[in-house]
């Protein structure tokens, strides 16, 4: 029986890939720098264990990494393709959007593309406009893919294993600043795709978020609890398919919904949740995301793109007022 142990978000990911590689010889990893462990240590030790043929260092060729992943999947492998950061995944966009996501449908189900595309997202301190984006809404808009964004080591372990087992193309967005986050990981806990987590329970309002923004939301909930406001905090975990049942039943009960994400608010995935909740429950709704600006370099500029604890608490109180 596996014991619960404290791991970082990054170590949890390594363990997940390792377990899947042990269980299934078809699982391979390909990407830049994966042989020396990945730029965030999220593949550390895997090449030593499984060899350079299964943990494949590649040229800086995002289109070929993603496209080769599609070809490998069609030929019977289950590739994990590493994009370094979500911003660079855009160099492999045709291969993801037109090839991986569409293959199964446009060829009438003749082939399947069980690949997991890992593309770390979100604001990475002082990394400016091309290394700090949150693009999950782009991918959630894309029929044919699953979109996952874990916020804890346990979820990163469980969701990555589930992603590798699911058989559909998965866009797997880990947060660039969560890699060092430590937490208990129990190997026996499975985390299914498409199932949200209730992180705090309360009846005053429903708060939905994901990825690193969960930390600010949890802190805001603690501050609100000190004022006697009990929030139902939901970590979405999977953006597509998203857990409508958990979110909408909470909204129906509380009558109020606040969605918070790090991505630009305009046309963000929060809009999808807000509109769905409005249609299904008629609840009061507010959204919080970044202004529609590129992420700046200087601290004062970068801060303009961040959604902080105080803003979340203030938005919650306004919704209650």
């Amino acid at each position: 029986m596996a014991l619960s142990k404290e791991l970082s978000y990054s170590e949890a990911a390594v363990l997940a890939v390792q377990r899947e590689m042990e269980a299934d010889a078809r699982v391979v990893v390909l990407g830049e720098d994966v042989g020396r462990g990945g730029i965030f240590g999220q593949y550390r030790g895997l090449q030593q264990t499984f060899g350079a043929e299964r943990v494949i260092d590649t040229p800086i060729s995002e289109a070929a990494i993603m496209g080769a992943g599609v070809g490998m999947a069609l030929a019977g492998l289950r590739p994990v393709v590493e994009m370094r950061v979500v911003d660079f995944a855009l160099c492999g966009m045709d291969e993801l959007v037109n090839q991986a996501a569409k293959n199964r449908f446009m060829f009438g189900g003749q082939g399947r593309v069980p690949l997991v595309a890992r593309m770390p997202g979100g604001i990475w301190d002082a990394s400016a406009a091309q290394h700090s984006q949150s693009l999950e809404a782009w991918f959630a808009h894309l029929p044919g893919v699953v979109v996952v964004s874990p916020s804890t080591p346990q979820d990163n372990y469980g969701l990555l294993r589930a992603a590798l087992q699911c058989g559909d193309p998965v866009v797997y967005i880990e947060h660039k600043t969560l890699w060092g986050l430590r937490g208990e990981v129990d190997e026996d806990i499975a985390v299914p795709l498409g199932k949200a987590a209730r992180v705090r329970e309360g009846n005053a309002l429903t708060l939905v978020s994901w990825s690193r923004q969960m930390q600010a939301c949890a802190a805001a909930c603690d501050a609100l609890a000190a004022e006697g406001i009990a929030v139902d905090l939901i970590d979405l975990r999977t953006l597509w398919p998203w857990d409508r049942e958990t979110v909408l039943s909470s909204c129906a009960r509380t009558g109020r919904l606040l969605v918070v994400h790090e991505a630009v608010q305009a046309a963000g995935f929060g809009a999808e949740i807000a509109a769905s909740a409005a249609e299904a429950t008629g609840c009061r709704i507010a959204r919080l995301g970044a202004p529609r600006i590129p992420v700046g370099y200087a601290p004062v500029l970068e801060a303009q793109s961040r959604v902080g604890v105080e803003a979340i608490a203030a938005a919650a109180k306004k919704l209650l007022g």
Binding site: V28, E53, R54, I56, T58, P59, S61, A63, A64, M66, G67, A68, G69, V70, G71, M72, A73, L74, A75, G76, L77, P79, D94, E95, N98, Q99, N103, R104, F105, M106, F107, G108, G109, Q110, G111, P143, G144, V145, V146, C166, G167, D168, P169, V170, L193, G194, W240, P241, W242, R244
Partner: protein
């Protein structure tokens, strides 16, 4: 081998003639003027949307695919009917797919531009120029890793594709990992409605392959025997583990970019000169002079026309996909959440 005087020569001829007959019929059906039975259809085209014809280029897939097994993989372009037929796909199911019918290879979900038959290793035509190249190296990479056989992957692409990044990335990838992949550039001289020459620096596909240490062979792509002979050697080398190879076949796109494009932008003299080297007429002449009976070749042509006529009738009568099929084969995870 001397394929011109053997049964292999007739087989190459048959493959080319079937491709030509299939595409001629598809072209007619795309214009909506004639139904499967030769009557005025008086309505919408039977083959809808963009139809990219490979008329005049038949020698390349015929000559290359003659050396392939069902278990070899093939990736294709938006101009993929010839590749698909030459790889062994059923002609009738192809026509059904072009008609958008449920009995087509893709159940009507893909049409001409996404024609595919995975059961014979044909992994799909592609609506994006150069998109098949990275997929091909991935399939070849899997073949190498799985070490089950000496199967290979063949990747067809056009001269326009060599100006896209994925071409460069895929060739580099194939060489770096020494993959069992044969790249086949069908150099038909046109990139949609723009001549490729003025848009391409240097000497084209073979020169770019050579710059990445991938041995390239240039061949008259309208001479099916030359293609067949060159492909025999290259396929053999790739199968033997020599790493990637590139075949640069010089051919010509007789039709416009799509079936409704009359290519008025093109110098008629250029087309006339190209028609002088039509691969099917050339092959017929060659086989006749080699002693093959004209009746034998006529029979091959008649059989192809009959086969296509039957396919048209079957495709015409075949059922449309059920509307519910729009919601299947999207993804399993979260199925039912698309509304």
């Amino acid at each position: 081998m001397d394929s011109s005087t053997s049964g292999a020569g007739e087989a190459l001829y048959r493959t080319m003639v079937r491709i030509r007959a299939f595409e001629n019929a598809a072209e007619t059906a795309s214009q909506g003027g004639v139904s499967a039975y030769g009557q005025q259809a008086g309505g919408a085209a039977k083959v809808r949307g963009p139809l990219h014809l490979s008329t005049g280029q038949e020698a390349v897939p015929a000559g290359v695919c003659a050396h392939l097994r069902t278990s070899d993989y093939l990736t294709s372009t938006h101009r993929g009917h010839g590749h698909t037929l030459a790889k062994g796909a059923d002609l009738t199911r192809m026509m059904c797919e072009l008609f958008g019918k449920a009995t087509g290879f893709n159940g009507g979900k893909g049409g001409s531009m996404h024609i595919a038959d995975f059961s014979v290793g044909m992994l799909g035509a592609n609506g994006v120029v150069a998109a098949g190249l990275p997929i091909a190296v991935g399939a070849a990479h899997a073949q190498k890793l799985m070490k089950k056989s000496d199967d290979i992957t063949v990747c067809f692409f056009g001269d326009g594709a060599i100006n896209r990044g994925p071409f460069l990335e895929a060739l580099n990838w194939a060489r770096v990992y020494e993959l069992p992949v044969l790249f086949v550039c069908e150099d038909n001289r046109w990139s949609a409605t723009t001549a490729s020459g003025p848009m391409t620096a240097g000497d084209g596909a073979s020169a770019r392959a050579a710059s990445m240490d991938i041995a390239a062979t240039q061949v008259d792509g309208n001479d099916v025997f030359a293609v067949h002979e060159a492909a025999a050697r290259l396929v053999n080398e790739v199968r033997g583990g020599a790493g990637p190879r590139l075949l640069h076949a010089l051919t010509y796109r007789v039709k416009g970019h799509v079936s409704v494009d009359l290519a008025a932008y093109r110098d008629p003299a250029e087309l006339a000169a190209a028609l002088e080297t039509d691969p099917i007429a050339r092959t017929r002449g060659h086989l006749l002079s080699a002693g093959v009976n004209a009746a034998t070749l006529d029979a091959i042509e008649n059989a192809a026309r009959d086969e296509v006529d039957t396919a048209l009738a079957i495709a015409d009568a075949a059922p449309w996909p059920d509307a519910s099929a729009a919601f299947t084969d999207v993804q399993t995870t979260g199925a039912g959440q698309w509304h």
